[in-house]
Every structure is written in structure tokens, then in C-alpha cells.
Symmetry: C2
DNA sequence: CACATGCTGTGTAACGATACACAAGATAGG
DNA sequence: CCTATCTTGTGTATCGTTACACAGCATGTG
């Protein structure tokens, strides 16, 4: 931290001396103002202001009280990627809302993908954790469990000791894939990454079980369900994998696979973000939607609505709020997480 | 926080007893593993695992060491609004990146707009603050200053004791307004809120000094500079104020002011977000850009590029990183913050 | 062989606050 | 007027860790 030219931080004892009261009186002045007479309170406040006392030391307080007033959020492997994912951001807004209404700070644990991440989790000064979607093999999960603090996982993976908040991705994927791929000749899924390696590429007949991100896996399974239910063979469906949930990246990947004779004529994308990137590439290639190319998204963002994109609407913000409430031990809305198929002009029906 | 059925958290002393070593040895095992022989280290680790010891108590550690390992971020008045602002998010990504690379947690202080916000700042267990743009009269600023921790303000306002990181908004606004409003007959500025009241509305000849958000104020001044330099009178320029930086809100406001005979024929928007909302409304109203309506944005987002929007490009992410580095006392890149006018098809030249 | 040096392990004294129990004076009720 | 109760202020012990100083032993050096 920056150089500290300022004199050392005053302590409660010094304020007490200056105000000619006991330390406890100062403590009460901050923690339970009603416990102190108005006159004394004013004297203490004045002394504190005079000395530049910034209030009780948070570390000392948390040591003594046994709680920190912070909720921890663990965001996948690399902190920064998560901030660039609009879905993660919406989710965070929900978590933040609950935190704010409880006066809790929201601490984002600095995950980098290095082995030291487990230490970072252990060192986090928080009273509980919300874990944003990560892969089955991510070691931070057990680090979270090891703290024995209350914690909730969003999206996945399942963990023996931790409750999970997630939509039925497989069922939703089944529904939207039925719209997206119906009657397609060259069907494709535009997918989230399969695992923490986040390799970009196009696969034929990819076994969903290869994906260690639960969300990716379940959506692939749902797509397979729908395709096979329509009489197709899974290996006919190509799976284009984006390393991140970013329109820009989808656009550049799509620009490549839209060229050539085997360009898809129907794509189920795992997010609106990816779908919109694809649509930009399609527009540039002179392809009409849904004429030449049927597209579906996922999430139900404003941008999807503006683009007339058929999508699976879900409320990530509400899900974030729900996770936070669960961690706080509140009675959150119960029941499964809602989703809804929204039909628009990017599909034929 | 949730009920805590688990047995109380073990302490270092208990681990020490179980491993038959002194407490200090346990402490060193966590804080300076090299200080301990490999054999002893293994014994301690084993004992800790057996007892379910999650590592040193963060509160105690921070009390003793005098630092918390967390960087605080104060995000305007209401935590949630800030998370919904894409600019704020980009900025946060930059802060987060620096935090992650230093192994620091990023704590978002729960601001709600209530008077208790000052307490929240004082109670935050952090080693320094980054303050995201707020209004001149926001009391959290003095709360931040009162902690005497290192702190940096982004965007504004200026504060006697705190360094500020901001672009020369006035100069940039001058440049982009010259493009946007050149030759306009019914010029308009689509503006950020003026103050924390965040009132939506359309004004004629608004005095820039009325805005208590520095960014808003300076950009209005720049627009006035440009308009007057072109021989115009400031009161001729209407100022449409959005309560938030949201495309959706801009769209609904624009839908209203684009009707009628006094609809603007040139608009300088204070963000790409607002500009894109306006363009959606314009498209729906059957107006051609730039034929019927010249539009400029601000920020240089991907979406602006995709939409062919003339804009002031700036790197908010880099600015976030810079703020964090300054708080950490690092030698950050010096010099003024860069911005660049990017001309595209939404303007005539 | 005497002595300097490095490696490991150990006690003790804080770090700054709050829970708790208690005391003195004020107020109220019968 | 005396006891019951409320209000307000006060010590003391303790939360769990780490800085510091020191001790014992092994190794290296002249």
C-alpha cells in the first residue's frame, strides 16, 4: 500500500483519554450510541474528530465480534474474465443488492488460476461465500468448503457440502434447441467453453460429458435430447466452442465457420452475447436471419430483444440475490429457478 | 449470517497442541513456510487438516499486521446502479486486474444513499479506497478522506486531500461536440444526470454549473465551448438528462423528444450507451442517421463500433487499473489520461 | 579448537476492540 | 420514604494472531 506519511492511527484508548471517559464509553458511542447519554456522546465525537480517529478498527472489531460484515464472491478462475462477462455482472448486481440492503460489504476474492487461490479463499475476511459457476475440478471449491463458512454455488458444479442454485439447463436447452434446430440441415451449437483450459474450436459430435462446466454440459445434453427426439444423430451437430462469453469472440469465430459450403443453417447459442456476435458476422457475410440462418440465444437481455432474437429468458440478477440470501440464512424464494422460452424473429415458428 | 451448527473454529493454539509444536511454529507454517523445516511443516499441516483448521483468522491477522489485504471501492450512491452501468463495470475490471495481480481482495463498500454510508466507509476493512465518480456534495468523500487511508477519486469530484484520475472532459467534449453539432439547426446534448437526485428531463439553456457531477458539468461546458465557437448561443442547445447511463432509458426518453416539430437534428450523447438507445428510438421513428439525425457517443465500446457511431474513445479499464496502482503506491503510468476522437458514419464529416 | 554463522523452534507481549458484570445515581411506584 | 427499576459509566478479561528476541544445535572457518 502507499507510503504512510501520516501519524499512526489513533486508538480508542486515546480518544477516551482525550474525552475524559472510559474506553468502553467510546466503544458504546460507536457500537450502541443509545447506550450513552447525549452529552457524553457529543464529547466523545468531538474528541474523536479532534484526534482524527476514524472509528473502530475493523480488524479488531471483527476479531472480537466474530464476524466481518463482508460477503465473499468467488468468480471462476480469473477475476478479470468474470468482470467482462455481462452475465456475471448481472448476477453480481443481484448479490450486491442484497449486500447493500444488509449493510454488508461485497468482497471479490482475487482468483487468478494459480495454486495460491486456495490460500486467497482461506484468507478472505468474509462471513460467507457465493461461488459463481466454475468447473468440476476447480480447487477453489474445496477451499471454500474447508472454511466451514456458509456458502452457495451458482450454476455448478455440485459439491457434497454446498447447496447449488441453478436452472434446469438441460430442459431449457431441449426447449430452445427444438426451436433452433428444427428442420436444420447443418445444425450447430455455439457453446461456452468446455473446461478451464477454454480452448476455442469446432467439434463434430462432441460428447457432452467432456465438458467440466456443468452449465455447458447440461445445455449440450439438452441440445442432443432435442436433436435426437427429432430423429437426428448427435454427431451431425457441430459444436463451436468460444473461450469466453464475448460477442467479439463469437463474431470472429463465426466469421470463420460461416465461410464455405458447410456453413451452418441453424445455430443454438448458449448466450445472447454469443448469438449477437454470430449475427453480426452473418450480417457481414450477407446472410439473412432467419432465412439463411436460424439463431437462438440465451438469457433474455435487452440487446436480444432489440435484435429480435429468440432466447431462453432467465433472471440472473434475481439468482444472484437468491444466492446471497441463502448464504445469509434467509428464507429466499423457494422452488426451482425460472426460465422461459421467448420466441422472436430469429427463428421460423 | 446462516445458522452455525458446526463446532467452533479451531485456533492456532489447538493446532499447535495437536502437532506438539509451539504456536509460533504453526504461525510460521502459514505465514513463512520456509522458516520451518519440512518435517515440522508436514506435521503441522497434517494436524491442521485433522482438526479442520481453515488457516489463520483474517481478523486477527489484520489486527496484528496492520493491513487487511483488501482494496475498497466506493461506487457512487447506490451500489446496484453502479453495477448496471457498463462503464463502471469496465472500470472495475481494471481495478480487479490490479488487485488480482497483487493477491488483494476487492471490497465493494455497500453504499445505499442513506446517511449511514459514512459509517460503512469507516467500517470497511480495507487498506485503501478507489472512489468512482460521484457528486460534489456526496458525503462519502469526506468519509473516505477521514479514514486517512490512501485513496484515489476517479472522474470527480475534486477533493482537497485526494488525488483524482480523470480525462480532460471539457476538451474532449469540445472536440466531439464540434463534430456532432456542426451546422445543426436543433442541437441537443443527451446528458448524464446533473446531480444525485437524478432527475430525468429536457432543459433549454442549462447552466453547466448546475451539474454537481464533475463529468457531466465539464462535458456540458465543452459542448457550450464548441457551440459558441461556431457562433451559436448556448440557450439554443437543449439538454436532455437521463437519470442513468442506460440505453433503455435513453431510448424511452428519445422516443418522446423525437416526436414533434422541434425534434433535434444533432445530438451529442455523453456515452455510447445513451447514443445507442437514441439510435434505436430514431430507427423506430424512421429517422436516418446521419441524414435526419447526427449522433455521437462517448467511450468507444464495441457496440459503438458495430453501430458506426462517432465517439470519444477512452480506456476505462486502464483508468481503473491506474487508480488501483496509485492507491497501492505504485508508479503508475503518468501524464494525462488519454482520449481520442473516432469518426464514423453517424456524423457527416 | 574457538568462534562466527545459519537453521529451527520457543516464549512473551502486544495489536485494538467488545462482552460482561458491576456500580452509582436518577426516577418511579406504592 | 423505601425499594424496584432504569440509565449511564466503568474495569477486566479475552478474541487469535504475529513481531521480536532469544536459545539450542549443527556447520563452517581460520
Amino acid at each position: 500500500m502507499a507510503k504512510d506519511p501520516s501519524q499512526p492511527r489513533p486508538t480508542m484508548a486515546e480518544v477516551a483519554r482525550a474525552a475524559k471517559v472510559s474506553v468502553m464509553t467510546v466503544s458504546y458511542t460507536y457500537a450502541q450510541p443509545d447506550r450513552v447519554s447525549e452529552r457524553t456522546r457529543a464529547r466523545v465525537r468531538e474528541a474523536a474528530a479532534r484526534l482524527g480517529y476514524p472509528g473502530p478498527h475493523p480488524g479488531a472489531r471483527s476479531l472480537r465480534r466474530g464476524r466481518t460484515g463482508n460477503l465473499g464472491v468467488v468468480l471462476g478462475e480469473h477475476l478479470t474474465y468474470a468482470f467482462e462477462d455481462p452475465q456475471a455482472t448481472r448476477f453480481l448486481a443481484g448479490v450486491a443488492e442484497v449486500c447493500a440492503s444488509h449493510g454488508l460489504g461485497l468482497t471479490i476474492v482475487p482468483i487468478t488460476g494459480a495454486p495460491s487461490d486456495a490460500d486467497r479463499v482461506a484468507e478472505a475476511a468474509v462471513d460467507g461465500f457465493v461461488v459463481w459457476t466454475t468447473s468440476d475440478d476447480d480447487p477453489v471449491l474445496s477451499a471454500v468448503a474447508a472454511t466451514a463458512l456458509p456458502a452457495v454455488v451458482h450454476g455448478g458444479p455440485h459439491h457434497r457440502k454446498l447447496p447449488i442454485v441453478a436452472v434446469d439447463d438441460r430442459a431449457a436447452a431441449r426447449a430452445v434447441a427444438a426451436e433452433a434446430l428444427a428442420g436444420a440441415r447443418r445444425p450447430m451449437v455455439l457453446s461456452f467453453p468446455l473446461d478451464r483450459a477454454r480452448t476455442t474450436g469446432v467439434h463434430n459430435g462432441l460428447d457432452p460429458a467432456e465438458a467440466t462446466f456443468r452449465v455447458t454440459r447440461e445445455r449440450l445434453r439438452g441440445a442432443r435430447d432435442a436433436w435426437e427426439a427429432a430423429g437426428g444423430q448427435w454427431p451431425q451437430v457441430r459444436v463451436a466452442v468460444c473461450a469466453r462469453n464475448s460477442a467479439r469472440e463469437a463474431e470472429s469465430l463465426a466469421t470463420a465457420f460461416l465461410k464455405g459450403s458447410d456453413a451452418p443453417d441453424a445455430v443454438m447459442a448458449m448466450s445472447d452475447e454469443l448469438a449477437l456476435g454470430l449475427m453480426r458476422a452473418a450480417a457481414r457475410a450477407g446472410l439473412a436471419v432467419p432465412g439463411d440462418l436460424v439463431v437462438t440465444g440465451w438469457d433474455g437481455t435487452d440487446a436480444a430483444a432489440a435484435a429480435g432474437l429468440t432466447t431462453v429468458a432467465q433472471d440472473l440478477r434475481a439468482q444472484g440475490a437468491r444466492c446471497a440470501q441463502l448464504v445469509l440464512g434467509e428464507e429466499a424464494a423457494t422452488g426451482p429457478i425460472e426460465w422461459r422460452l421467448v420466441l422472436r424473429d430469429s427463428t421460423r415458428r
